[in-house]
Amino acid sequence: MNLDVLTGLATPIAMGILLGGLYALIALGLSLVFGVMKLINIAHGDLVLLSSYLAFTIMTSLGIDPILSLVIGMPVLFVVGFAIQRYLLNRAFRISMEAPLIIAFGISIILQNLYQIVWTPLSRGLTTSYALESFGVGGIRIPLVYLLDFIVAIVVMIFLREFLRRTYLGKAISAASQDRGASQLMGINTNRVYAFAFAIAMVFAAIAGVFLGLTFPFTPQSGVSFLIIAFGVVVLGGLGSIVGTFIGGLVMGLAQTLGGYFLGAAAQMLVAYLIVLIVLGARPRGLLGR
């Protein structure tokens, strides 16, 4: 193989790895909710977008930097998540197996159309001064936000790991996810723990949403593609493993950038989607799943 192909491939590989961080970040909330409540939150992608749109409004109207606007965005999504779990999903679990899924689907449709009404169907982006900067490493140029995504993802993942291990709430969440009945007998109020777990997952979604907006332009319909990517990350990485989520993110990021490199920009998501379907067919419990 000649050197030109290698240097040509270096850019998509480097960008794919860095993008993997962002995807792991998006998947973190989905993975947490799934781990605790055994529910794949179909509205996850749309809730991530809620944070992107909030940051967009704060940036355009108040001129506050999107990353700083998380001071507002994180509490807002915490409350939204708590309310969704407490008042909608918690009741749905008692109705039937399909009720939480149908309700989550309904929430997804409501949010998509709400965005369309409030923010119009136009493609938006969080274009800050540093969003367009890039830096050079060994002859390849990499956008600064990609590096930022990766660093933030690692920091957030270490934080989540320590949170689940060291705090009471974190231990309660882990306990409730392992055995609901036993943790109730140990005096844990599982309904409250579920609501907090969902709310915390939404805080991660808030962080993911802002960095997503810095990296990609988004439309009201973008939620579905990010849901599928997050689902792919969870499927690839298996459950309950933060390292697995990270590896899953890398695979999805590389699939997208390499797919875009070989098949053109229009097909980049196609490769990522097909990988999810193939992995589901081959190893339904995930590559690293137990």
């Binding site: 899924l101 309700i103 599928i228 379907l277 193939i278 339904p284």
Partner: protein
């Protein structure tokens, strides 16, 4: 496949009477707007019936119904461009949708519950991207990617399309009737109640679900093709849109999931909703979403289910005796 004949025949007379009456509507000069709404009702009912079969009776929350609708429509349109008649194309559409269901059942049937739901969600997204890139045959461009006008659709009269949709709708009703009264339906009911007990009683859980999935795909594809004859054009974004899932889910949930008559009642309400909300554009889907969530939370059995639950009241029982002559 064995079928309980007395149960299949019972209550068939009112059904036939309604079908004949509906079939006569365009001839006796019913206003055109009615014909249009009834056409939508037929399509929605066929789609909702097929989703009810999967979600209600098999426990498969399928989110890939738009894939079958779009494939049914596209197969017909592409064949029409090559010169195949529309009606033949429709049947080909149903066959392609069914074959596609066989293909995707390889990955998605290894999943259960929520995994199945999200796994199927990916399928229409993949197809949309493929059809946005790929342009199978030449022809007048309509919209982005593989947008086509349905060749020959203008030659089909409104009456013909109406009857076509009626036929598709009635066949979906009859198929559901047949399945629920055959040993396949009995097997599905026992799987729904307890899958492992059903399996140990000799019911092939995989086969029962697999056949239902294929049947559902074929009829959904047929209904999709019929819809696109009336629409006159097809393009990937709306053909593989999540809006389809919304319609069939809403119709089933409003009427009552896991109830045979549920989708019929639900489809009437969805058509009325579309009629009432048509002017409001984006808000329309928002309101439909709110209705879906509220019904699921407040009356999970839907309208028909709620009526049945209050069915212990005296007037209701008297009415039931009158209508069923028991």
């Amino acid at each position: 496949m064995k079928v309980n004949l007395p149960r299949l025949k019972g209550g068939l007379t009112p059904l036939i009477a309604v079908a004949v009456l509906l079939a006569l509507f365009p001839v006796i000069g019913v206003p055109n707007s009615w014909i249009l709404y009834l056409f939508l009702f037929f399509i929605y009912l066929a789609l909702a019936n097929m989703w009810n079969l999967l979600a209600g009776y098999c426990g498969l929350i399928s989110l890939c119904q738009p894939a079958f609708i779009g494939l049914g429509g596209y197969t017909m349109v592409i064949l029409a461009w090559i010169g195949v008649p529309l009606y033949l194309g429709m049947i080909a559409g149903a066959v392609v949708a069914a074959l596609f269901a066989v293909l995707i059942s390889i990955p998605v049937f290894r999943l259960s519950g929520i995994y199945f739901a999200v796994g199927t969600l990916i399928v229409p997204e993949v197809l949309r991207i493929i059809f946005l890139i790929w342009r199978p045959v030449g022809g007048a461009l309509y919209g982005k990617g593989a947008g086509y006008a349905v060749k020959g659709a203008t030659l089909v009269s409104t009456m013909e399309i109406y009857w076509l949709a009626l036929i598709v709708c009635i066949s979906s009703v009859l198929i559901i009737r047949f399945i629920l009264r055959s040993n396949l339906g009995l097997g599905l009911a026992s799987i729904r109640d307890n899958a492992s007990t059903a399996a140990s009683s000799g019911i092939n859980v995989f086969k029962s679900k697999f056949y239902s999935f294929i049947i559902s795909a074929a009829i959904t594809g047929l209904a999709g093709a019929a819809f696109y004859i009336s629409q006159g054009f097809i393009e990937p974004t709306s053909a593989f849109s999540v809006k389809w899932t919304m319609i069939l889910m809403l119709a089933t949930v409003i009427g009552g999931i896991r109830i045979e008559a549920g989708p019929a009642v639900g489809a009437i309400i969805v058509v009325i909703l579309h009629f009432l909300l048509a002017r409001y554009g984006g808000v329309s889907l928002l309101i439909q979403g709110v209705i879906l969530v509220s019904i699921m939370l407040l009356a999970p059995q839907g309208i028909v289910g709620s009526i049945r639950r209050t069915g212990t009241s005296r007037p209701y029982r008297a009415l039931m005796r009158l209508t069923t002559r028991r």
